[in-house]
Amino acid sequence: MFSPDNIFTTTIDKAVRWSRTQSMWPVTFGLACCAIEMMAAGSAKYDLARYGMEVFRASPRQADLMIVAGRVSQKMAPVLRQVYDQMAEPKWVIAMGACSSTGGMFNNYALVQGVDHIVPVDIYVPGCPPGPQSLMHGILTLHDKIMEGEINR
């Protein structure tokens, strides 16, 4: 099958970027309503498996992507940062939904007003909660971003 005639030339940059997009494993970080939509995106109808990312890893060591799905309270913020720090580089963050992007409708004492106060965010997905299609659009946008960006983060 792999005869010496079949040669494929590319740059190392492109190969690395491409391989990073093809199986991004998300860490399970479901917090609230958005977590249900994230699970719906992973199940039969929307099927995240087609992007090679249906495996939600419980261990942050095995994950590349953190989908912050839901509202982040002041009490949860240090936990979130700890999980992010435990993830191996390279790593990306998607802020899913209005609450994790900006605090959403809850402008009060209890919530962190946007998860970008704690961790660097690559993609913001709007909606309350965003549907599975919106989440998938966010993921594909992240893929584009990785394909165009630097490989050294």
Binding site: C33, I36, S43, A44, K45, S73, P78, V79, N108
Partner: protein, 451 residues
């Protein structure tokens, strides 16, 4: 009149106490106690979670080498959100459990005091995010009780239709995640697949898949879409077939039975002691369903049964959810056949905003529209408590009104919060392998616990 004065006194009492530094009062009176210790920096750190301490170890048992404390959560795939458990183990046996909550505290009850009554459902719908329509219903019913108004029959029927469909979708998620926790991963795929059917109907009706803000004080936001009967007929046809598939897969499955039967016993007496309601109570052999005992929104007009099982274990708590889906389907079918014609929201000009086309024709309509959407409608002073049967148990809402257009105090009695209290009872002296089965059987939604 007399009652109004009492309420005023109560409000004054609360107001004065909060102005003078809250409950941190130390007086010289004998018998009075200091209610709250001065919080030092360390204590604040512990409360905010930046400093994690094992406050569960206590002196007489720390010498025992066999006991260890395992921290489960808050980021754990089978704690149904951000529940944290401190589990004290002796070998493989769980001796004690301490649930730690508050990781999803959103301050919704406080936010509820800043939103007008017509905005209230936007807030409450996000509490128990698997059964959003029940939250809206209970808030709307409480507001209507304070306003002393009666919604039209069609609005009542639509409310019952939507909430019972919501019960089905909520139970489907409970079955799906419960199956996933125990290792029946197919159940996860199946449960979410069938849920999509109902969510599609919700999206068609309210515009959103979750967090609808559809049931509002005075009725519902919009009428049912054209040809809605067709979608309901499809749901009524497909879901019973799929439920039979689940039964074929799980009901006589020896692994499923071995994992679930005689595990996590919660007796009726324990349910009473801890205030547990809903499927967990009915699975322990006590027939208590608010749809029968305190009917709301005209549900007494429909014929259905309250399923009852007596084994009080995890298996019967799983089984009763399947049986309740069948009963809810019966109600949905009856609503579809008997739904009356008429208005879908109350024709009271002070509560319901006028339709858009009236604004161009009538000055009065324009004024009412402006008043309702800027200031909100005013609610007479008083207190009210209304409870409905949510998929997880008694969901109650308590509102104190001071006569303005915003609640003075809004409190929600969340069923998940009370049911979670039973976790130490269920998990004590059982193997650690049964822990996730026990959590899944209670079906807690952490949004409802912490709010």
């Amino acid at each position: 009149m007399n009652e109004d004065n009492n309420i005023k006194d109560d409000l004054d009492f609360w107001a004065t106490n909060s102005e003078e530094g809250g409950w941190n009062i130390s007086s010289t009176d004998e018998g009075s106690q200091k209610m709250l210790e001065e919080e030092d920096e360390k204590q604040i750190k512990i409360q905010t979670g930046s400093d994690v301490v094992d406050d569960y170890v206590y002196s007489e048992e720390t010498t025992d080498d066999e006991r260890m404390i395992v921290n489960m959560g808050p980021q754990h795939p089978s704690t149904h959100g951000v529940l944290r458990l401190q589990v004290e183990l002796e070998g493989e046996v769980v001796r004690r459990v301490k649930p730690v909550i508050g990781y999803l505290h959103t301050g919704m009850e406080k936010t509820g005091e800043e939103l007008a009554y017509f905005q209230g459902p936007t807030n409450t719908t996000r509490m128990d995010y698997l059964s959003p329509l029940f939250n809206e219903l209970v808030f709307s019913l409480t507001t209507e009780k304070l306003l002393d108004i009666e919604v039209p029959e069609r609005a009542k029927a639509i409310r019952i239709l939507m909430t019972e469909l919501n019960r089905i979708s909520s139970h489907l998620v409970a079955l799906a995640t419960g199956g996933m926790d125990i290792g029946a991963l197919s159940m996860m795929i199946f449960g979410f697949r069938e849920r999509e059917l109902i969510l599609n109907f919700f999206e068609k009706t309210s515009g959103l898949r979750m967090n609808h803000n559809y049931i509002r004080p005075g009725g519902v936001a919009a009428d049912l879409p054209d040809n809605w009967q067709k979608d309901i007929k499809e749901i009524l046809k497909i879901i019973p077939e799929k439920l039979k598939d689940y039964d074929e897969m799980l009901l006589d499955n020896p692994i499923w039975q071995g994992r679930l039967k005689n595990v996590g016993i919660l007796t009726t007496e324990e349910c009473f002691a801890y205030g547990i309601t809903g499927p967990s109570l009915r699975a322990s052999g006590f027939s208590w369903d608010l749809r029968k005992t305190q009917p709301y929104s005209g549900i007494e007009n429909y014929e259905f049964e309250v399923p009852l099982l007596t084994d009080s274990d995890v298996f019967s708590r799983w089984r009763i959810k399947v049986l309740e889906i069948f009963e809810s389907l019966k109600i949905v079918e009856q609503v579809m056949d008997t739904i009356p014609k008429g208005a879908y929201r109350i024709q009271d000009k002070k509560v319901t905003p006028p339709p858009r086309q009236r604004l161009d024709e009538s000055m009065e309509a324009l004024i009412h529209h402006f008043k309702i959407y800027t200031e909100g409608f005013k609610v007479p002073p008083g207190k009210a408590y209304v409870a409905v049967e949510s998929p997880r148990g008694e969901l109650g809402c308590y509102i104190v009104s001071d006569g303005s257009s915003k609640p003075y105090r809004m409190h929600v009695r969340g069923p998940s919060f009370c049911n979670l209290q039973a976790l130490p009872v269920i998990m004590a002296d059982s193997p650690i392998a049964d822990a996730v089965a026990a959590i899944a059987s209670l079906d807690p939604v952490i949004g409802d616990v912490d709010r």
